[in-house]
Structures are given as C-alpha cells and as structure tokens.
C-alpha cells in the first residue's frame, strides 16, 4: 500500500530516471541519486493527471512494436515521397473515421501518434465518446485497406500490450 502511494506509476518512474541519466550523459552516483529523487517526486506530484493506471503486460512487445513502427516509417516514407514528387492531380485526399477497439487512453494516444508518424496519414480528432479517430489521408485508394492496415499493423499489437483498466 505504501509502495503504491510512493510509486503511483512505477513505469513512469523508470522512464524518467532513464531520461535524466541520458540527458546528463553520465552514470555518476550523484546523478543516479538526483535522478531517482526526481523520478519519484514527479510522478507523485502529477499523479492526479494520470487517473488511469498504466499497466503494460508485455514490455518486450512494446520494444517489438517500436521496431515495427520504425520499419513502417521507412516503407511509408518511400511511398509518400513518390506521391509528393508525382503529379498532384492524381492525389485523392480524404478524411476517414477509424473505429477504435482500444480503450485505454495511453493506448489511444500511442496509436494516434503512430498514425501521425507514419507518413500518409495524420490523426486529426478523437470523437467525444472515444470510439472514432478522425484521420486525414494524403491519398486514399481503398478505405477499407487503410483501416485494415492500421488495425493489423498497429492496433492489434497495442491491444495486446495495454490491458484495459
């Protein structure tokens, strides 16, 4: 119980600690202690902004997901470079609604970020009931294919990583 009060979000604490050490680019004892103090204090002070508990079921799957996103960025960049350099008249931009199966807010946030990072799509808005994500796509040939792609490549792994609470 006390442990939970001290570390409302152990995962955040770890990340903050890591970032602090990276920022200073050292692992001297002084910075390890200072970083730890900050990493414990900040999540504790901001815990009221994180009502949902972040729980990650498979941390190694998150790493796999990051690698997969990096690969997708590579592929999608080549595709979009071709679109931009090609004639503009052939582009068919449009807005599409993507039905979310994710419910955890961290998961939705990560998915929206990923969609914006992979070129060709930018997430624009989340509906009030948090069921639809409005996405602007640079070029739409087949809407269902885009949705299926997003689901297969990004949402499914995220669904497995983030447990709903």
């Amino acid at each position: 119980m006390i442990l939970q009060r001290l570390f409302p979000h152990p995962f955040l604490t770890l990340i903050l600690w890591g970032i602090w050490l990276l920022l200073n680019n050292t692992i001297s004892p002084g910075h390890i202690v200072l970083g730890a103090v900050l990493a414990i204090l900040i999540p504790w002070l901001t815990s009221s902004y994180w009502p949902e508990k972040i729980s990650i079921r498979h941390p190694w799957m998150l790493l796999l997901y990051v690698l997969r996103v990096l690969y997708e960025i590579l592929v999608a960049n080549a595709v979009v470079a071709k679109l931009i350099l090609g004639p503009q008249k052939n582009l068919k931009p449009g807005f599409l609604h993507y039905e979310l199966k994710l419910t955890s807010s961290v998961g939705i946030g990560l998915l929206a970020n990923t969609i914006s990072l992979t070129p060709g799509t930018v997430s624009c808005d989340l509906s009030k009931d948090r069921r639809y994500l409005l996405i602007h796509a640079l070029h739409i040939d087949d809407v269902e294919a885009i949705k299926a792609d997003i689901h297969r490549k990004f949402e499914k792994p995220l669904l497995e990583i983030f447990v709903t609470c």
């Binding site: 990276l22 931009i84 990072l117 624009c124 739409i140």
Partner: protein
C-alpha cells in the same frame, strides 16, 4: 568505410527532408501540407541523427546517446503538434481542396 556509411545516411536524411519541404510547397491545402513536416521529421531527421550518433560514438570516447533523446522528444512532439493543428483547422473550418472526400463511418 565508416565515412561512406555516414555520407549515405546524411544524404538519405537530406533527401527526405527536401521531399518534406517540397511537399510543404507543392501540396494544395492545409491538411495535405501537414503531411510534409511530419514526414521530414521522421525519416529525414532520423537518418541524420543516426549518422550523428555513429560519428560521435567513434570519434570521441564513450557512446553518444543524446541523439536517442532528440529522436524520442521529436517523435513525441511532432505528431502531437500536427494533431493539434489539424484539430484547430477543422474547428475553424479551414478550406479543403474540393476533391477531398468525407468518408462516413
């Protein structure tokens, strides 16, 4: 050998940053132009940062890890700002190209 790898990485980065800028200039409406910078900041800057990390890790003692942080912060802030701009644009009804399709749910 190492210099070749670095040169190629920097060229790739420069190319995609250029494509992003061309997109910013060439595309027809606000929403489409938004795709330019989000792209330039992923692969373009990514490749340049990898080159920088490799260069400084070999040139100086110890590994250079600052680039990881730059990438991390960029990957967090770029999509969020794009999202906010798009949301604001929708809210004030920024003009779209006529052929933009509105696909229903």
């Amino acid at each position: 050998m190492l210099e070749w790898v670095l040169a190629i990485l920097i060229l790739i980065g420069a190319f995609f940053t250029l494509v992003g800028s061309i997109g910013l200039y060439k595309l027809s409406d606000f929403y489409m132009r938004l795709h330019g910078p989000t792209k330039a900041s992923t692969l373009g800057v990514g490749a340049i940062l990898i080159a920088s990390a490799i260069h400084f890790s070999f040139k100086t003692d110890g590994v250079s890890l600052h680039e990881i942080l730059v990438t991390l912060f960029l990957f967090i802030t770029a999509p969020v700002s794009a999202h906010l701009m798009a949301k604001a644009a929708i809210h004030i009804k920024v003009k779209q190209v006529e052929r933009t399709r509105q696909l229903e749910k």
